[in-house]
């Protein structure tokens, strides 16, 4: 997406006016120039710092290149990609990442909905609730990760004694470690989801709900027939943002397990290849693959989202 758009030099924008069109007035011309002068710097920074590195990564991913051996750099076409796609470890980590994404996003949708409903219906504590829910949103992910790591720790944590689990070593095996990582991720990011859903809830006209109540609809029927259909757009936006974000999970994994016990994710793999192992070529290839997957997810969502919305419109 951003990568395929060539970095237009900000000043080059006012194209020489074509004769066919009605001549531009001074005012329009001035407005166009001003527009680019104001928006140009922001666009330049965004493209230069995101577009260029990713193109650079694309290029580097075609090399066998190790930082510790710069002279041995060699153009190898798609060998890095072949290495990655034939490596079981990559697929394992892809699976772990996908699993974390699906689990956290589904739990967050349900939990986020529950939180949004409570906030929406709350009469007395509205401000208190919204302030409280923003705390997890604002907190540094690393801090949240430490908090949960210590909570689950069998040396420091309160989780084992609270739930009578004795000496359960949460970080000693893949599934329990993934469970702890998911809990930390869910805690931190559900508020974002629930605030978007709350905004969606607020947009449902009260008349609809009242009409349904008058017609004798049960709360569950009201939820299913009135609330859900009217919130499709909000739900899709929330799901899209959270899915993309969850797929990029890094901080929690880094702090809580450092990828041990088979909890490594794709972001972590990209980091480890380039930064720790200084395998720049291979690491770049992982970065490119990760970027492509994320763009594909976004594309799929937008596609489904569009058809869904148009169907909704047709149905009205």
């Amino acid at each position: 997406m951003s990568t395929t758009i060539p970095a237009a030099p900000p000043e080059a924008a006012p194209v020489p006016p074509r004769r066919a069109r009605p001549a531009m007035t001074d005012r329009t011309r001035h407005e166009r120039r001003l527009g680019w002068m104001l928006a140009g710097p922001a666009l330049f920074v965004m493209v230069a710092v995101t577009g260029y590195p990713i193109l650079n990564a694309l290029w580097l991913s075609l090399f066998d290149y190790r930082l510790t051996d710069p002279d041995g750099r060699e153009f190898v076409w798609f060998a890095n990609y072949a290495t990655i796609f034939t490596d079981g470890l990559f697929w394992r980590q892809f699976g772990v990442t996908a699993l974390i994404t699906v689990v956290t996003v589904s739990v967050e949708l349900v939990l986020g909905f529950a939180l949004a409903m409570v906030m929406h219906r709350a009469l007395y504590m509205r401000t208190l609730l919204r302030t409280a829910i923003l705390i997890p949103y604002g907190i540094i992910t690393v801090v949240s990760a430490f908090s949960w790591q210590y909570a689950f720790s069998n040396t420091y944590g309160f989780v084992n004694p609270w739930f009578g689990l004795g000496d359960q070593d949460w970080f000693g095996n893949t599934w329990t470690a993934l469970f702890a990582i998911c809990v930390a991720e869910i805690w931190k990011t559900t508020p974002f989801m629930s605030l978007l859903l709350l905004a969606g809830l607020a947009q449902i006209p009260n008349d609809y709900l009242e009409a349904a109540t008058v017609d004798g609809a049960t709360p569950w029927q009201r939820f299913k027939r009135v609330i859900l259909p009217n919130m499709k757009a909000a739900i899709m936006v929330a799901l899209l943002f959270r899915t993309l974000d969850a797929f990029r999970i890094f901080d929690n994994v880094f702090i809580m397990t450092a990828g041990a016990q088979g909890t490594e994710t794709l972001s972590f793999l990209a980091y480890r290849q380039t930064i720790s192992r200084v395998m720049v070529g291979l690491g770049s290839a992982v970065s490119v693959i990760l970027a492509v997957i994320v763009v594909l997810i976004a594309f799929l969502f937008v596609k489904v989202f569009r058809t869904d919305l148009s169907q909704q419109k047709g149905g009205n």
């Binding site: 995101t50 949103y137 309160f158 978007l196 702090i255």
Partner: protein
């Protein structure tokens, strides 16, 4: 009236659950930060005796204080520049007619979608080549690029709601265009700008990936990254409680902003995502 009352109680219980949900992990890290000695390993939620010892250790360590200074400096600079650039761009997008408007919003959206790690690893390489590796500027630049999209979205959503005709009305009433802008538009735009600044602050303060990939020393490493390497007073003791204390310190600005600007943050998050 009975069922209505029961429902009311249910919603209150729900409300308490929401507050507990948000507070427990924070309370836990605060509690841990006040535990001393063997208290740390007794697995109870609350400390049996309060001690400030961990805070003393944290502030006695250069690693933490320089990281804190880095974080504060870098966050303030990045937030300021980002909000200025985003305000100009959002004004242009919301108010002016020019070709390329869609391009700007498209690029912004594409960047929010992008995995940061996919940008961080090539930057690691580039920064090393041009000498920006392990410097403040080397962090500020990428922070700008990934905080700008959100700010541009939030601000243009805000700016679209501003009744710009009022500016002309003021001019008709005899104000100069500068006066009209300052007296009418600035007060209306300020809340949006404040919101964008807070959201940018959160994003930059929270960053871990750039902090850990683009720095290698105390010179520029921000707190979240430094925490991952924190070893406490001695390299032989587990730094759990000092890490908790450091965590509490860097959480304070977040809590303060949330307490004071709760309404703005909610408005910004939903404006950027739902309306954008």
């Amino acid at each position: 009236m009975k069922p209505g009352r029961r429902a009311e109680v249910a919603w209150i219980v729900g409300g308490i659950a929401v507050v507990l949900y948000a507070i427990v992990p924070v309370a836990w890290i605060v509690s841990l930060s006040f535990k001393g000695g063997d208290d740390i390993t007794n697995q109870s939620f609350l400390p049996s005796a309060f001690t400030w010892e961990n805070y003393r250790i944290v502030f006695a360590s250069d690693l933490f204080t320089t990281a804190l200074r880095n974080s504060i400096g870098i966050t303030i600079i990045a937030t300021t520049i980002s909000v200025v650039l985003a305000t100009l761009a959002a004004y242009a997008v919301a108010r002016l007619e020019f070709p390329g408007k869609r391009l700007i919003l498209g690029v912004a959206l594409a960047i929010t979608v992008f995995p940061i790690i996919a940008i961080a690893t090539p930057l690691f390489n580039m920064w090393r080549n041009i000498g920006l590796y392990d410097t403040w500027i080397g962090l500020i630049i990428p922070y700008l690029s990934f905080s700008l999209p959100l700010s541009v979205y939030v601000l243009s959503a805000f700016f679209r709601e501003i009744p710009w005709e009022m500016e002309q009305a003021a001019q008709v009433d005899g104000a100069t265009s500068w006066q009209a802008f300052r007296k009418v538009i600035v007060p209306l735009a300020a809340p949006g700008v404040a919101t964008a600044a807070i959201l940018t602050f959160f994003a930059v303060w929270n960053d871990f990936i750039f902090g850990i990939t683009l720095t290698s020393s105390e010179r520029s490493r921000p707190v979240p990254a430094a925490l991952a390497f924190f070893s406490g007073e001695s390299s032989f003791s587990e730094p759990t409680a000092p890490i908790a204390a450091a965590s509490v310190i860097i959480t304070i600005p977040v809590i303060v902003l949330v307490l004071f600007f709760q309404r703005r943050i909610v408005a910004g998050l939903t404006a950027g995502a739902v309306k954008g």
